[in-house]
Symmetry: C2
Subunit: 191 residues, 2 copies
């Protein structure tokens, strides 16, 4: 997605340790008009797919998923990262290892909101090692729901997650795939 | 907001300990068409106010804030609950005591996204004891920004947060104010 690549070049900041900061428009401050373009692009790519629910993970996936859901006219469900007393007792759960935070955490989704009648589109901001996506896929599987695919805003193509997901036969649509990144010269994108 | 009160009556579940579960449409699974009605109502209530940014707090405020921001055509900024290596070093920070989780946590916002030129609308799903709102207000104050007010979806009117915020002279618009709630009979609303 040309518009996204240009925005990453303009406003993204590459930091030591393969960190790409896009928090001025995507995952801390959010440019809503820009997210609408992202939502439209996901809709275009998954056009014709019957989708009943968008599944994402807190926190930075939620805004993208909600704006995207407008174009699919389906509800959004977000996986929570810790158990709270506000969630129903009956949950699907999976474990996710976080690249960003360097720890393992549980994700949970209430059983009542996902079942075998659902066809799910997973939406998230980043794909690097694929751990969050695998956790969400695990929950879709536990629910007996079917997966239409995963829509990712930025894939770090030099990390193994994307290849792993594609090798599993899961349809993966990444709007920008970063081939390499450098603190001085910025990002290069897969053609 | 009549539509919201009806939805709470229909789909909300009152649990022991003054817990109101609205996770079927508001803060776990999210009904996006319904959130659009909420966004329009916030816009109607704050019509004529010059607002440059919507501030919320992860995780359950984000979806509501993003959909609401479409009507104000401003960016959303969400306060993060833990420090991660993906956030800029220069942050505003405040402490918040959570009613839901029963603990104190830090919230942080990057300085680069909020300054004295901003006029902020705070959006959140619930107001009970007002701790999250006070933390966000503290961050707005640290930034030297001005506050247009706070838009809350559901205020628990029998807890002290709403009164405290109003006594401070902050404009508070709660779309539903619960006067009392009961596991058998459900919610009654302030007229």
């Amino acid at each position: 997605m040309k518009l996204l690549e240009e925005r990453i070049q303009r406003d993204g900041v590459v930091k030591e340790g393969n960190v790409l900061k896009v928090d001025s428009f995507l995952n801390h401050q959010m440019d809503i008009a820009f997210l609408e373009e992202i939502g439209k692009e996901f809709k275009r790519r998954f056009e014709g797919e019957k989708i009943t629910k968008i599944l994402t993970i807190e926190a930075s996936g939620i805004g993208i998923a909600c704006i995207t859901a407008r174009y699919f006219q389906v509800p959004v469900l977000f996986a929570k990262k810790t158990q709270t007393k506000n969630i129903a007792g009956e949950v699907y759960t999976s474990k996710v290892e976080s690249f960003t935070h360097g720890k393992v955490y549980d994700i949970i989704v209430s059983r009542q909101f996902l079942d075998s009648g659902d066809r799910v589109l997973i939406i998230d901001d980043f794909l690097a090692n694929g751990k969050a996506l695998m956790g969400l896929f695990d929950i879709v599987t536990q629910a007996g729901a079917s997966l239409a695919g995963a829509g990712i805003v930025i894939e770090k193509g030099f990390q193994p997650g994307g290849q792993m997901i594609r090798d599993m036969g899961i349809r993966l649509e990444s709007l920008a795939i970063i081939e390499s990144m450098d603190e001085q010269t910025g990002c290069t994108f897969r053609k």
